[in-house]
């Protein structure tokens, strides 16, 4: 699989860090997993990421701070937010700020696949 299908998952929850990459690999993506935003930012492979799947409530940094940091480092990529807090207001704000999708946990594989398709469509457009 080429680096064109490279997905990074950032989530502080262990269940998600184990289950989501397994499904993504099953779907044919190359996956790296990070427990924190900082861990992702300092990794060598951040620059190869074509789609970022990010839990909104990360320890340390908030989602907005993280997105700003990505832009500053010229690392901005199509981002799918995931969260265990079903907050519709937050979802619409994130979508209006350019997020590809915001999925509420637990989400189905079809919802995930649709979001990934959208993210890689955007990726191809660039």
């Amino acid at each position: 699989m080429s680096s064109s299908a490279f997905v990074s998952v950032v989530d502080d929850d262990e269940s998600v860090r184990e289950s989501l990459p397994a499904l993504l690999r099953e779907l044919g993506y190359v996956v790296e997993v990070y427990a924190s935003a900082e861990e992702f930012l300092v990794s060598d492979r951040a620059r190869d990421t074509r789609c970022l799947i990010l839990d909104i409530f990360l320890r340390g940094m908030t989602a907005s701070e993280f997105i700003r940091e990505l832009a500053d480092r010229r690392l901005a990529v199509p981002t799918i937010f995931i969260t265990a807090h079903s907050d519709e207001e937050l979802r619409s704000r994130l979508l209006s700020e350019g997020a590809v999708e915001c999925l509420f946990k637990p989400f189905s594989d079809t919802a995930l696949i649709a979001a990934l398709d959208a993210a890689f469509r955007i990726q191809r457009l660039h």
Partner: protein, 381 residues
Amino acid sequence: MVLAVTADRVSLQWISWCPATGELSGAEPLYHLLGIDDAGTRTLATLLSRVHPEDAAPLRAGLEQAGRGAGAIAVEFRLFATDRCVSHIQLAARGVCDSRGRPGVIGVVQDVSAQRECEQALAQAQADLAYAARVMSLGSLSASIAHEIKQPLSGIITNASTCLRMLAADPPDFAGARETARRTLRDGNRASDVITRLRALFTRKTADDETANLNELVQEALALAYGDLQCRRIAIGTQLTEELPCVRGDRIQLYQVVLNLVLNAADAMDSIEERPRRLMIRTEWEGVERVRLSVEDTGTGFAAHEARLFEPFFTTKSGGMGIGLAVSRTIIDRHGGRLWAMANEGPGATFCFCLPCECPSLPDPGFVPRDRARTLSLEQR
């Protein structure tokens, strides 16, 4: 006569017992109180047949002891009245000799049923209030609880999708599917643990004979409130003393106190923007027979409210009812401990409680409790 009237006014009744004949005697109100109105029934044997089985032997032993002249006795017993009600009767008596030198017992009895009923009603009201406060604090945690359940659920659903795909592949990936099923089980157990923890908090039962470890209570309270604290951008720190002895009491109520102190600290930091919101929980020895838990925040502090903090229905929060701290203090008092608040040297406040511990270790000759000097100086302020 004067004495008899006085005794009647305070509902005390004179009683005497003759060990030789087994006869009980006194005035009419005594017979009525003990349900031995008929002359032929005024014996200890008849009385004992109406006394609660658990109390009959101690009552007989007490009277016999007094009859032998072995000093004054005081016993309380439950008496089944004819209308099936239970009366609580107190007896104070001592041995005497009559004019012919025969040993006997004289004393007074008093119906303390009303007092016992009040005590039971008070205990019940306290338990009900503690339960109400607990359910309320769980209400405020509903988002956090949903978060704690959705995380493993998310794992379960993703794992199940992966597992199906691995089995449907050509050739099927059995090893991968097995591993994924194992992870599904683990996440299922994790979700179930969250529910078990919650069910315990929703129970009404009270138990005073359990043991509780403060460190475990801290970890459980933080697990439950974690999502909530994270949402409110509160950094959590703990300094838990290892091998802390257990305390005896009602585990759920003590858990409730810890959870309440954590949520109060979080509430106190909601409006803080100019400095980090930090929650620090410590457990440690207090002397050699007590253990202490403290919850420190960097919130608004309690400034002028110090004197009223623990008053029922006193609150500075818009959504609060002001019973959390009052209930917490009642619970800690009932466990033979103490709950207090102190202002931090920097911003915020620290709430502490100490409780007697189960198996006090022998004092080390050179043992000086950590932080002792600091605690004292803070309390004096």
